[in-house]
């Protein structure tokens, strides 16, 4: 008997969680659809958009660049030591290039920007929510989604591919520096191998992924901002949730996109 009650309680709890999950998905879909429709219809708010563009794109450059540089360099060392086990040291340039453009460039970029941006979006919108600034927007006949979500969504969708491209290039350069200085490649050979085996589709596929990551990052930041409640502590919680959710979704969607794009 006790066991039965216990079981029922568990099922009830699961039911509540499932309901909460469905409601959240519904809200997220609503935010996405509304912001998409408002992104495509006037009025457009240029100023908030430009502010975001600078914040997302320009200010992320240093950390994205440094990460890519060291990752490319480490990758070159690893592939060299791995490759030398079967006398295939010459694959270093091409594997570094393919690894950076297809996987590491977009994913690292996505994760770094998720850490910076989803958290700051969630914190900003969340604190606007708990201080009634969102209500004030409505009372002034301005849609919070149009004013807050659309510029963030648009700027991260534009910036992520650009940042990814930059991190591709810097990562490859990182590999090149190591290749020349400690792996006995000549500059000519290294660049030749890089270019020879790198296809445009490697680059495109990474860029397509990064667009998806841009959407995930900005929407999860906005979603957790809009749904935060309970003062400063609530805002803190939603900030953390935004980063974790965005990172998980980036990794999961990275796998799905990879499987989808290379399954031929």
């Amino acid at each position: 008997m006790k066991l039965l009650i216990y079981l029922i309680k568990i099922i009830q709890k699961l039911g509540c969680k499932a309901e909460y999950f469905c409601v959240s998905i519904g809200q997220l879909l609503k935010i996405s659809l509304v912001s998409l429709s408002e992104a495509l219809t006037p009025p457009f708010y240029a100023e908030p958009f430009l502010k975001q563009l600078i914040f997302v794109g320009f200010n992320s450059l240093p950390v994205v660049g440094v990460t890519a540089l060291f990752t490319g360099a480490a990758l070159a060392l690893q592939i060299f030591s791995g490759g030398s086990r079967f006398n295939a040291e010459t694959v270093v340039p091409s594997i570094v290039a393919i690894g950076m453009t297809r996987e590491l460039g977009p994913v690292l970029c996505g994760l770094i920007v998720a850490g910076r941006l989803s958290s700051s979006i969630a914190a900003e919108i969340g604190s606007m929510k708990v201080t009634e600034q969102l209500d004030a927007l409505k009372s002034l006949s301005v849609s919070p989604i149009r004013y807050l979500v659309t510029p963030r969504l648009a700027s991260s969708v534009i910036c992520l591919p650009i940042l990814t491209l930059i991190s591709d290039i810097i990562g490859i350069l990182g590999g090149l520096v190591i290749g020349i200085t400690s792996l006995q490649f000549s500059l000519l050979v290294y660049t030749e191998y890089t270019i020879k085996f790198l296809e445009m589709s490697d680059i495109y596929s990474g860029l397509i992924k990064s667009v998806a990551f841009g959407i995930i990052i900005s929407l999860s930041g906005c979603y957790f901002g809009f749904t935060s409640k309970g003062g400063a502590a609530g805002v803190g919680k939603s900030t953390t949730s935004a980063v974790i959710t965005a990172s998980m979704l980036i990794l999961a969607s990275n796998y799905l996109l990879t499987a989808f794009m290379f399954q031929k």
Binding site: S139, L140, S141
Partner: protein
Amino acid sequence: MSGNGKGKLSIDRIKLSLDNQLILNDISFDLNTNDNTDSITIIGRSGAGKSALLKCILGIYYPFSGSIKFNNQPILKRNKEIFFNKLGMVFQNSALFDSLSVWENVGFKYLYGPNKMPKKNIKKLAEEKLERVGLSIRSANQFPIELSGGMQKRAAIARAIMTEPKILFFDEPTAGLDPITARKINYLIKDLISDSKASALTITHDINTVNTIADRVFLMNEGKFVWIGCRKNIKTSSNEYIKDFLNTE
């Protein structure tokens, strides 16, 4: 404008629940918004549901029964535009946008709302409004965080009157202010509503606000109105809740 039901905000038997809790229970009243101006204050303890009532009117919370009408129609679509065009609202903690300068806050509705005008004109108009509420032009280029609580409240009032609204909502306009500043804010509100011939709906637990600006007073307790009357009758009322309210002041 002053025909039947025209120029009127009517709240009719609304009930609201949030998180499975009944917050508003059968609230009804009318606010005249035509030439026959009106000033209602709603008083009551904190947590009574006063702010929730305002948020229902603003369309932020949805009552599960009853109706809220403006000009005899639900506040939706075109009527919503008309209503919000006539409305100015001052929120409890001012709710200024902290990423924008003070003048951009004041001019926000013209900068980003449906009725645009050139930026230069907006700034000029915003500065006029700031002067009207007793702030110096110097504060126009400051950010909200640089202002004191009383100055922030003034800026929020300037933002509310920017479009010369005929309906003004104030949510606890004197909360958190020192008594002297509170008195000044009360008189400012009184002057503004009589100058602009606007109707006001003010939420407060400050008896001085009631004495300065109210025509009619509604006392709310646990989501219900438990006393309704004119300002003059407050002092002589034998109602338990009113006595309680006056005592705690």
